[in-house]
């Protein structure tokens, strides 16, 4: 308990690096990162301790005047997530941050600590005021961090877009807090649980809370800030924003759903579930169309937050239908997937940073063959990509499996055809999402890391320094560890929902779920053992002909020769490009994507030879075009309508005042 307060102080100490003199800026950076690693480690340790040995009472309870801190199991789960991801990204940032030497590095390290501090403060806050203050701090600091490379025009516009969007969200959250707080007469979370809100106002409070938190977690159609803000920010900041900050929104929403609003109303859960499912599929579809590595990852975050909210919504729907025991599996799925997503997306943003650091570009179309230049980064990225494609033996499948199980349970227990149609929709969406995610990460990895270099920027690629590899490696190890032994995490997460119902999913054998009486088992350990057994035989057989090191010493069974290309020597431009790779999908879903193509002949002396073409492809975000542009147009139109009565002449304004006076006088006389 004391650990948490001390860690807050250490974060504050780390923030002080901003005011260090410039000549020791590198020392300030190291000190800042040391503080961040230490404090995050302490946060992770104390919350892990609390979750492993569940005791009655709070993890932390303290108050100063009208500000109060308290943390229960739901906060502790997110504190653990923040601490773990924060520590690993800070380790990575020790080396990565150095590239900002001479570019306000003290500010970056100080704000990094402040960002972590604000996230922890949001999770610890025990009343609405503290929550809003910490939430605003988090929004402002992340705005400053996104805007760190303010020299670029794109960065500034992304940062301001983020600022505007996040404040719309904050406003909605404040309305929700106000409604609940005024009905319960107090703004402390404990009292707010006993609010007497009902009927219409309860629905309004729910909608506001969902709007605010969905915006922060990047659910469609409120996601538009996300694919711009993530690429603009420094990579370790993107890792933390995507890995942790988006989950903090889930924390807030969970606080509202469990404690303040309740989950009795069916359509509340239904909306959360549907928005989540649509975000999941559309997010991954857009991710598959992008060529900017960090934009791919940003859209993939939209997808994963969609899956998390879909599972959460499924739990809410189950709860509202009195399936209070089985709903726990859905909430567990949401929380486990949140954990696993924070690890895998943190890892991939870090490796995107490593690639950027190495070749100086984010565009995967310019890369190729990086696996040979940076083997360790390539290995970690492979593990992260496998996890994001939810393949076996990674943490990704654990969350995905629990999500699928919760929807299957909903279908098994719900008799009405309407609910069945709902689950059919969910399964179609989850199926499409899963397969497209696999395609998306095959495309990302295959284009950037495999094959041959497409341009000469790859020539200067090199392996990363030790702390960057350490940060990525730790996340990769955790992903595989959770993937092989999911029971520890799953059992711990279930403690959080012990108040709803006690079920047991994790066993030493693997995960067992039998919501409808007959059990389904996922035992990654045993499957892995079977794999290893087969691998032993196969490798012995194949090893004799193909050496892993790529040497030709092992007998005459291996030859090296150039790729067959209809009799010509292939050039590196003949490889499939990332844009080409996603072409069939673009065509299959062109109704949603509505791609805009243009083809210009720059030079065309001969019909077939020596032509120079310019091909442009743009895939506009459907919500940007069909939702935000009309709103923007409406605002411009309405303000130009107001413009007509604001001529700027003083006489006119005096006239307005007089008319207003007369209206008021008449009003007063008549009433």
């Amino acid at each position: 308990m004391d650990f948490l307060l001390i860690s807050l102080l250490i974060y504050l100490l780390g923030t002080l690096t901003i005011v260090f003199p410039k000549r020791i800026e590198l020392a300030a950076h190291y000190l800042g990162m040391l503080c961040a690693v230490l404090a995050s480690g302490m946060v992770a340790y104390s919350s892990l301790n609390y979750l492993m040995n569940p005791v009655d009472g709070w993890l932390l309870e303290a108050s100063w005047g009208s500000y109060s801190l308290q943390a229960d199991a739901w906060s502790a789960a997110f504190l653990l997530l923040t601490g773990a991801a924060g520590a690993m990204t800070s380790i990575y940032a020790i080396d990565y941050g150095k590239s900002y030497k001479g570019n306000r590095i003290r500010l970056l390290s100080g704000l990094w600590n402040l960002f972590l501090l604000s996230i922890v403060a949001v999770l610890l806050s025990g009343d609405a005021f503290t929550f809003i203050v910490a939430w605003e701090l988090m929004a402002l600091v992340s705005f400053l961090l996104v805007n760190h490379e303010a020299g670029k025009k794109k960065t500034v516009s992304a940062a301001y877009q983020y600022m505007v969007m996040t404040h719309i969200g904050t406003a909605a959250i404040m309305v929700a807090f106000f409604l609940i707080g005024s009905s319960s007469g107090s703004f402390s979370f404990g009292d707010m649980a006993n609010n007497e809100l009902s009927g219409f106002m309860k629905n309004v409070a729910f909608i506001c809370a969902f709007l605010g938190f969905a915006l922060k977690s990047g659910l469609m159609p409120l996601h538009i800030w996300l694919p711009n803000a993530h690429p603009a920010a420094p990579s370790h900041v993107s890792a933390l924003m995507s890995g942790v900050m988006l989950k903090v929104a889930l924390y807030g929403f969970g606080r509202f759903a469990f404690q303040f609003i309740g989950m009795d109303i069916f359509w509340h859960g239904l909306i959360v579930m549907l928005v989540g499912l649509v975000s999941a599929f559309l997010g991954v579809l857009y991710a598959t169309m992008e060529v900017d590595m960090k934009r791919i990852l940003a859209y993939s975050s939209v997808e994963n937050m969609g899956i998390i909210f879909a599972a959460f919504g499924c739990g809410m729907v189950m709860y509202s239908m009195n399936m209070t025991v089985v709903c726990v599996v859905a909430f567990t799925a949401a929380l486990v997937h949140a954990f696993s997503h924070s690890l895998m997306k943190g890892l991939l943003f870090m490796s995107a940073g490593a690639v950027m650091h190495s070749v100086g570009s984010k565009n995967i179309e310019l890369m190729g063959g990086l696996i040979k230049k940076m083997p360790y980064t390539a290995l970690f990225t492979l593990i992260g990509s496998m996890a994001l494609s939810s393949l076996p033996f990674t943490s990704g499948l654990v969350g995905e499996w629990l999500t699928l199980q919760s929807f299957a349970t909903l279908a098994q227990q719900a008799g009405t055809p309407e609910l069945r149609l709902l689950v059919i929709f969910a399964f179609i969406m989850l199926g499409l999402t899963g397969a497209t995610a696999l395609g998306c990460f095959v495309r990302l990895y295959g284009t950037a890391f495999l094959g041959r270099a497409r341009t000469n920027i790859v020539d200067k690629a090199h392996e990363m320094p030790v702390f960057m590899l350490l940060g990525m490696g730790l996340e990769a190890v955790l992903i595989v560890a959770i993937g092989l032994m999911p029971d520890a995490l799953v059992n711990m997460v279930q403690q959080v929902f012990a108040g709803i119902a006690a079920v047991s999913i994790g066993t030493p054998l693997g995960l067992i779920w039998g919501g409808s009486g007959r059990y389904a088992l996922y035992s990654p350990g045993i499957i892995f053992a079977v794999f290893a057994l087969i691998a032993l035989f196969v490798f012995v057989a194949v090893y004799r002909s193909v050496s892993f090191a790529g040497k030709e010493s092992t007998g005459s069974l291996v030859r090296r020769d150039v790729t067959w290309n209809c009799g010509t020597i292939p050039t590196s431009r003949q490889q499939y490009s990332a844009t080409g790779f996603s072409k069939p999908l673009r065509r299959a879903f062109d109704g949603i994507l509505s791609p805009r193509r243009s083809l210009t002949y720059l030079r065309k002396e001969h019909a077939y030879y020596g032509r120079k073409l310019k091909y442009e492809l743009e895939i506009p975000d459907i919500f940007n075009d069909r939702l935000y542009k009309p709103i923007q147009q409406l605002m411009i139109n309405s303000s130009s309508a107001f413009h007509k009565i604001q001529e700027g002449s003083v006489r006119l304004y005096i006239g307005y005042t007089m008319v207003a006076m007369i209206v008021v006088l008449i009003w007063g006389v008549l009433l």
């Binding site: 063959g369 696996i371 496998m386 393949l391 499948l397 499996w401 699928l404 199980q405 299957a408 279908a411 098994q412 689950v423 059919i424 399964f427 989850l430 199926g431 499409l432 899963g434 397969a435 696999l438 395609g439 990460f441 095959v442 295959g446 495999l450 094959g451 041959r452 693997g510 039998g514 389904a520 088992l521 996922y522 035992s523 079977v530 794999f531 087969i534 196969v538 194949v542 002909s545 193909v546 892993f548 005459s556 069974l557 291996v558 030859r559 090296r560 020769d561 790729t563 067959w564 292939p570 490889q575 499939y576 080409g580 790779f581 996603s582 072409k583 069939p584 999908l585 065509r587 299959a588």
Partner: protein
């Protein structure tokens, strides 16, 4: 614990049995096709000979490839074999280490590595095959998910062995017949058969699976082929055990399934790539109706 070990042992034996018979089933499909085309055709044992032949030949690696290229066939073969140990069929009991979703994701692991390897040889053909494989798999996935959903609703579990048709109840229903047709369509797409993919050609305009394997030779190629034969027999077993609502022995169902695949492949042309969307959409709609009729 002992029951667990026995069960895992039996699963492994079943995997081996399916592995041994897999080339035979592929041979039967080819024989049926040859006969229907009024050819004598190769012996039903030809696939065994082919695999032995490739096994003895040298592996040619292009200088651009990485570890992934060597790893991919091995992983692909292993995922097919593990899938073969999981299907409910001859020897597997009530206990299984993964359910239907895990079955799907284990096959996805193989697909992940095969499509990656297709981009590793730095050629247009490989990338084309990989890209199309992803396209088809995206369209197949919803149908497979619904196929799992229908049996999981009927038998209240997603464990494959619990999802086997229960012949004591009413099993020949409209919904079962619809699911059977739909799963057959899905099976053809998932195993790269006509009308979605043509397993016989290497022409770049038609190939999907063959495009990805174009750069492979020697032992790696034989592993890929063994893996894909295994995948066919695994899907036939699953089809027979879970979706064919006729009470006859499973082995006969598998043989019949192989013959029907041969007939369907003879009667159909390869479909245009972007028509596959309609084809698999039809399978999805069948399953949707099946679930509503359930």
């Amino acid at each position: 614990m002992e029951a667990l070990m026995t069960s895992i042992g039996l699963n492994l034996v079943q995997g081996l049995v399916l592995l041994i018979f897999a080339p035979l089933v592929a041979g039967i499909i080819n024989k049926v096709k040859a006969r229907l085309q009024k050819r004598r055709g190769a012996s039903v044992l030809q696939e065994y000979f082919d695999i032995c032949k490739w096994w003895k030949k040298a592996t040619i690696l292009t200088p651009y490839t990485s570890v992934i290229f060597i790893l991919a066939p091995v992983v692909y073969f292993m995922t097919s074999l593990v899938a073969a140990t999981m299907v409910p069929g001859f020897l597997t009991g009530q206990f299984s280490v993964g359910d239907a979703f895990i079955f799907v994701y284990i096959l996805a692991l193989g697909r992940f590595f095969m499509t990656l390897s297709s981009m590793d040889a730095a050629t247009s053909f490989g990338g084309m095959g990989g890209s199309r494989e992803i396209y088809v798999s995206v369209l197949v996935e919803p149908a497979i998910m619904l196929a799992i959903l229908i049996n999981s609703i009927r038998y209240h579990s997603t464990t494959l062995s619990s999802m086997v048709i229960d012949y004591d109840g009413a099993y020949f229903t409209i919904s079962a017949v619809l699911a059977c047709i739909a799963f057959f369509l899905v099976m053809l797409a998932e195993n790269s058969r006509l009308p979605v993919d043509n397993p016989d050609t290497h022409l770049e305009l038609t190939m999907i699976h063959e495009g990805m394997t174009l750069e492979y030779s020697g032992r790696l190629l034989s592993l890929i082929h063994l893996g894909s034969y295994l995948k066919i027999i695994v899907f036939l077993t699953l089809f027979g055990a879970l979706y064919v609502p006729i009470n006859i022995p499973l082995a006969i169902k598998i043989l019949l399934g192989a013959v029907i695949i041969g007939v369907v492949e003879t009667l159909n042309n390869k479909m245009r790539l972007f028509k596959v969307r309609v084809y698999l959409g039809a399978a999805t709609v069948f399953l949707l109706l099946a679930i509503i009729a359930e």
